[in-house]
């Protein structure tokens, strides 16, 4: 018995930030209903209280994470290493931004549940990184998915919102099932669920005995997880879901599932390709072929379909698909000298988080409590009515384009370097060169639709200049998030070293 307690204590010691978040989630779920009357009436301004509570909990978790520093602990259900530290930092830091964007998007009576769902999604994302066991990994993935369904529904409860939620729900459980199926193939080969044990068993087997089984596992895992990162051909839900939800949920969906998906891929792919090395990601030829073609197809499909979009959230969904393609390049390249694709991918995740959350935060901040900006025509003349918002939004859009001096440029630059450094041959050509050229073409294509939005804001007169505009109730929370995102992306461009250091 004492042994079990010690084991629990040891495991719990590895996930202190998540336990803090869990406590906050419990508190929100228990206290939330008590503050709302039977008829669903809540005191005005209740959402502010819940917002501060979840910010406070997140700050505590962030503090614990920061003080902990990168550690190296292996074994049991969870592990700690550089990737865990970085992924935690990424989700917790962007968590602040996501809470701020959510702040005004939820009504008072449902604020507690919404914040609790958001915190548990962040907790799940952290646990995905920390998992050292197939079961723990799967549970963590579900801990991200299930609150997402609730959050999607809470955000917007009309027919379109319901349709979006249902679509996401059905496809998400389908993809979870595929991931689970892939995990069973790994288990079938290794006979163990612990990552460390699986690696040892696979390393000790007679070479190439179970390669076919592992390839099936690999393909299934990629298929299941590509749903989360919204890579083509698993992207079909993204435009509809983005269109049918709120700015905060769209921001969440464009970033957190990508973090979860890529971290899980980085963890699981070395297992499925029976790579001996512990932390290094070195996809083999077939894996490169699969991931590389997913990357190229995602980039082209995302960017080309985004060109004609009229709905801003839909456009951002296609942009998110294209960015999944960019980041898949990093995964395809893996850890090669002198620039690691895996590190370039993790760097890009952070910069992408800033840009995409920034766009949604500012779109939300531009309207406050009024109906949200959704059609691209709503952006017309924004620079005249709200010059500062338009300027900040333009910074985020230029960052998405990859224009200096923004973090988006550095992200793409690193991916260029990583891709070009990869010398694997495919027939007569070098995979890395093909990927880099595809990336260059897509950067040029994507410039068109981002620039079109900037042009709408700055170059066009307002749609109805004489229409009486109700005085805008200033929404400070999303505005703070938007300012942080756009200034942050310039700051990362100027001083990127700390971000690199934390990735390693």
């Amino acid at each position: 018995m004492p042994e079990a307690i010690a084991q629990i204590r040891g495991t719990a010691g590895l996930i202190v930030p998540e336990i803090i978040l869990l406590a906050a989630v419990c508190a929100l779920f228990f206290l939330g209903p008590l503050m709302v009357s039977g008829s669903g009436e809540a005191p005005a301004g209740l959402r502010n209280r819940w917002g501060w509570l979840s910010l406070f909990a997140l700050a505590a978790a962030w503090f614990v994470w920061y003080r902990g520093g990168p550690a190296d602990v292996r074994g049991g259900l969870f592990q700690l290493d550089g990737l865990v530290w970085y992924a935690r930092g990424l989700t917790l830091s962007t968590g602040f931004l996501l809470i701020l964007v959510l702040w005004n998007q939820i009504d008072d009576s449902h604020a507690a549940e919404a914040h609790a769902c958001l915190l548990s999604i962040l907790m799940g994302a952290n646990l995905v990184a920390a998992a050292n066991d197939l079961i723990a990994m799967f549970l963590a993935l579900e801990l991200v998915s299930i609150p997402t369904y609730v959050l999607l529904y809470l955000g917007r409860r009309d027919r379109i919102g319901g349709e979006a939620t249902l679509k996401y729900f059905l496809l998400s459980i389908f993809s979870s099932a595929i991931v689970l199926y892939g995990m069973t193939w790994v288990y079938g080969v290794a006979g163990n669920t612990n990552f460390t044990a699986i690696r040892e068993i696979l390393a000790a087997r007679v070479p190439h005995t179970a390669d076919g089984l592992l390839e099936v596992a690999f393909a299934l895992l990629v298929a299941g997880l590509c749903f989360r990162i919204a890579a083509v051909p698993f992207h079909f839900y993204a435009p509809d879901v983005f269109q049918g939800t709120t700015a905060s949920n769209a921001a969440l969906l464009s970033l957190v599932p990508k973090v979860v998906g890529f971290v899980a891929l980085i963890r699981l792919l070395p297992l499925a390709s029976a790579s001996e090395s512990w932390q290094r990601l070195l996809p083999e030829f077939n894996a490169k072929l699969l991931l590389g073609s997913l990357a190229v197809v995602s980039m082209f499909v995302g960017n080309l379909l985004a060109l004609r979009q009229k709905h801003l959230y839909r456009l951002m969904a296609y942009s998110s698909i294209a960015h999944a393609g960019y980041m898949l390049i990093g995964l395809t390249v893996g850890d090669v000298a002198p620039v690691s694709g895996r590190e370039a991918l993790l760097f890009y995740l952070a910069t992408y988080g800033l840009m995409t959350i920034g766009v949604f935060a500012l779109l939300h901040a531009a309207t406050g409590d009024r109906p949200p900006l959704q059609a691209d025509d709503d952006l017309r003349g924004l620079a005249r009515q709200q010059p500062m918002n338009a300027l900040l939004l333009a910074v985020c859009l230029f960052s998405l384009t990859g224009l200096p001096p923004t973090a988006g440029f550095l992200g793409k630059f690193n991916l260029f370097l990583a891709a070009w450094a990869d010398g694997t041959m495919i027939g007569e050509r070098i995979i890395g060169h093909v990927l880099a050229i595809a990336l260059a073409i897509n950067a040029a294509i994507s410039a068109y639709y981002y620039l079109r939005l900037v042009a709408l804001m700055f170059l066009e007169p307002a749609a109805q200049p004489d229409a009486p505009v109700a005085p805008l109730r200033f929404a400070w929370a999303p505005w703070v998030a938007g300012v942080a995102c756009s200034l942050g992306s310039i700051a990362i461009f100027i001083a990127p070293q700390w971000l690199w250091d934390s990735i390693r």
Binding site: A337, P338, V339, F398, L403, F409, A440, L451, L459, Q497
Partner: protein
Amino acid sequence: MSSLLLSLLFVPLAAALLLLVGRSFLSQGAARRFALAASVVTLLLSLSLGNEFRHLPSGGPRLSPVEPRHAISYHWFNLNHAASDTNSAAANADPLNFSFVFGVDGISLTLIVLTALLTVSGVLISWEAIRDRASGFYACLLLLEAALMGVFMAFDLVLFYVFFEFTLVPLFFMIGIWGGPERRYAAIKFFLYTFAGSVVTLLGLVSLVLAASSAGIATPTSLPALARWAVEHPLKPEWQIALFLAISVGFMVKVPVFPLHTWLPLAHVEAPTAGSVMLAGVLLKLGTFGLLRICLPLFPHACQTVGVPLMAILAVAGIIYGSLCALAQRDIKKLVAYSSVAHLGFCVLGLFALNSAGISGGVLQMINHGLSTGALFLLVGMVYDRYHTRQLDDLGGLAARLPLIAAIFVFITMSSIGLPGLNGFVGEYLSLVGMFRREPIYAVLGTAGVVLGAWYMLTMLQHAFFGQLHEPLHGHGEPPIRDLTFREAVAVVPIGALCLWIGVTPGPLLEIIRPDVDAVVAVYDEYLPPNERVAAKRGRMQDAVGREHFAPAPSGTAFIPMPSPRAPKIASLPHPALELARVETPSSSASATRLSPPATER
């Protein structure tokens, strides 16, 4: 010196940010006064940079074809693997270091001063014309100035590219918000066209950096280090050609070289006057500057085998096609825009002569075109401010109404078409002489452009300013037509004075750029086969004495007429003849142009 260099970047940047932040409470008057103050301060700083520059050691053995006379560098970031990966190749590779390297050499100094000067003129010419959101306009103008300063000061590939790209943003807003009726289309086309071109350049730069890094260069983005490496260990010819083509695409769009020029007339016509001035005066130089800074020193083989024919043919095509297009225009601004295509053709022709005369001429042509075309756009803007039209059909005999403007217009036109005694002549002459020594046929064809240039410019002048007075109807409420105001005079007269000064005594200017030009030319010395090298030395001696500038080229292809201080390999063992040449020639090209031999008289 270092702080002076950085202040040139940060004064306009800080002023632009202040204008952006303060645009809600700054009136039009306050914004323009503030912008004027900031741009004048920048101009004074650039002049004092020029003053300090004279005290820097200029000669001396050089280690690299591209070397700043003064540089400051800051660590930016580095990419290397964690030390734990001991078993991997990654641990053995050097980290990729990226740093901000700001520096100055003769070529960049002249362009920095040009930028600062044209910005002041740009602020002055927008004084009355820009009323809507004036604060934002001046912020864009100053932001553009800062970005241009950054490009010229960058001695690092990535930094160069960063500023090169960033120039798009302020100019996009300037054209798109304050431009003419077609401004949106023009701004978007300008942005996308040049962005697409520079993405290809980025691809080339990335592969170059990786190649250098795998060869063991610790700072693979620093231009001096790269150029030195490229001289000591030339890249494989096919790689050179591939990299040359990829990297020059972005520059060719920016120049713009003939088939890629379609964005330019549109952007020029729609841009506000200050935007046109900056675009023609400085922005187009980024392309030729990039070719000179990156392509010429790094890919000597590619420049000789592919670069000379490709670029010279495109340049000649651009000269003739641009001139013919200019001839057909009825809009003065569009005419001047097409003349830019032709003038920059001369510049490219000079650069790809790959010899001292040609490159000096190319650099001079950059400055001259900046001065004279900048001034032409200023003057066209002045006419437009008065009559709200630029159509030749609506204007005529304006010299009677606007004698001062007409006088300056004539003067600048003469400079633009290359009248001896004015700046345009020196640049075109040296470029053509240089090209004549490399490939005479292109020089001969290019000379046709000089004739065409005189034709279209003089036709325009005749239509607009001489003959019967013909003005558009003048509204009652508008102020009466006035000749040159004091403000406009301050904007345009210094440019005219510089045109005259460069035309009469190009020596000092050539002297400033000479060491840097010669360092690039030295790269091509290395490529001469031994027998031609001897002949080249003979040519040098003749040049050194300054007696016979048109020494017949021993071989039509690779004759280097000017002395070159030292390519790295020669540096260790100085050759007596070379030493002699170096001592003797400080201003051979200058003295030659002072004599102005009438051989290429049109």
